[in-house]
Every structure is written in structure tokens, then in C-alpha cells.
Symmetry: C2
Subunit: 141 residues, 2 copies
């Protein structure tokens, strides 16, 4: 994951390697977790070539379209992104909204009949319910 790797991934995805786009990609490749667009914007702009909020959104959209970054599902309100290969599922608490990682296990593919001509790239399980804290609180009332 050095500079040339990033440049090559971008070009492989049909995207120019601009300073703003490079910065977004570099940030995502070097961070665990699921930063929101706002967090990425802020982190990237702590470094030098200041980029606008809109550019950050545009670049995230382009990176997702190119398949270089994945948008992770439904973490509260704001979209969240991830470029590290680390797979996991997500547990979302109905009560407090917190999102927690659940260790990866394989999930079955849908029948190819229901998939049709769609191209499947990723799948992820969203589990919903009560987190440990909220489950405890509920039990004591």
C-alpha cells in the first residue's frame, strides 16, 4: 500500500489520480473502521491540499462506482466507507443506534435465478436487535 499502489488502483478503476482523490483513497486504505464522508473530509483536510466537501463526496461516489471502495450499510444516518479488505458483519441496536462489528462468517449466495444478470460484488449481513447495554437496561425495568 505505497503511493504507486494507490495510483495504480485508481488508474485501474479508470480514474485520474488527482491529489484530492489520492488523499481520500490513501486515507481509506490506511484506516480500519467505517469513517463517514464528513470524517474523511476532515481527516484529508488536516493535511495540505484543501479539498471541498463536494469533492470528497464526488470522489467517494466514483471510488465506489469503480469498485475500489465499498459503502457499508445503514450505519445510522450518514453513509460510511471502507477500503480495507477486513470483512465483518454489522449489528445495529434498535434502541441506541450503535453499530458493532460481528466477526465474519460465510453467508449463502442468493439463487442465481433471483440474482438474474446482476453482478454481485459484496454481501454483508445486517443484524438488528438490542445491544448488550440496552438488553440489560430493558431487562431491569
Amino acid at each position: 500500500m505505497d503511493a504507486d499502489d494507490i495510483r495504480r488502483s485508481l488508474e485501474g478503476g479508470g480514474l485520474r489520480c488527482t491529489p484530492q482523490r489520492y488523499a481520500v483513497m490513501a486515507f481509506l486504505m490506511s484506516h480500519q473502521g467505517h469513517p463517514t464522508a464528513a470524517e474523511i473530509f476532515e481527516a484529508v483536510n488536516r493535511a495540505d491540499p484543501r479539498s471541498s466537501r463536494a469533492t470528497t463526496y464526488n470522489n467517494l461516489r466514483d471510488l465506489v462506482r469503480a469498485g475500489l471502495v465499498r459503502e457499508v450499510a445503514a450505519e445510522g444516518r450518514a453513509a460510511r466507507f471502507d477500503a480495507t479488505g477486513m470483512r465483518h458483519h454489522h449489528f445495529i441496536c434498535d434502541r441506541c443506534g450503535n453499530v458493532e462489528d460481528i466477526e465474519w462468517f460465510n453467508v449463502p449466495r442468493p439463487a442465481s435465478r433471483s440474482l438474474g444478470k446482476r453482478v454481485l460484488r459484496q454481501s454483508e449481513l445486517i443484524l438488528r436487535g438490542l445491544c448488550t447495554t440496552c438488553a440489560a437496561r430493558r431487562a431491569t425495568r
Copy 2:
């Protein structure tokens, strides 16, 4: 799904049966699809007892917390809700952002070790890739 059913579900969830809350619940129980908060607000207010935007949001949050309604994952930007039992998975196109339903099939439960004391209520698979239209467009370029 008559009036008393709705009243009873609300009370079962520890929620008062107010006209505004009843209207939200009734709307969700009688509609397929995944309306956004804004759509629910509008639909409910086409009928009589006009309810404010804030109330709609409050009620949706309370209904989700009570487990009577589920918030479905990552359908574009705005949060979307569903109270009909109809289960399905979701396919989200990385390119155009469209969300499509995939017919339901069972997914495995996570190991109870990784679930810990969390209470699991629902699970849903999020599939990502290219929809039929975008896959075709990509192939011809």
C-alpha cells in the same frame, strides 16, 4: 390488521396509542415497499389530524425502539421503514444507487459466542454490485 390490532401492538410495545402514532403505524402496516420518513409524513397528513414533521420522526424512532417497525438498511440517503412482515434481502447498485428486493432465503445465525448478550431481532442481507442495467452498460464500453 384492524384498528384494535394496531392499538394492541402499540400498547404491547409500551407506547400510548395517540392519533399521530396510530396513523404512522397503520400506514406502515398497510403498505409494501420502504417509504422514507418524508413520504410517511406526507401520506399521514393527507388524512386528517395533521401531525408535525418532528412527531413523525419521534414516532418512527419509538416504533423502531419498541421493535414494531424495522428501519431498512442503506436505501440511498434517507432512512426508510417497514412494518409488514414481508421479508426480503436488498441488492444495492454501486453505480446508480438503486435498491432492489431479492427474494427471501434463510441466512445462518452468527455463532452465539460472537453475539454475546445481544438480543437478535432481525437479520437482512445487503448485496452490492451492479444492477442489470449498469452491468449491461459497463459490458458495452
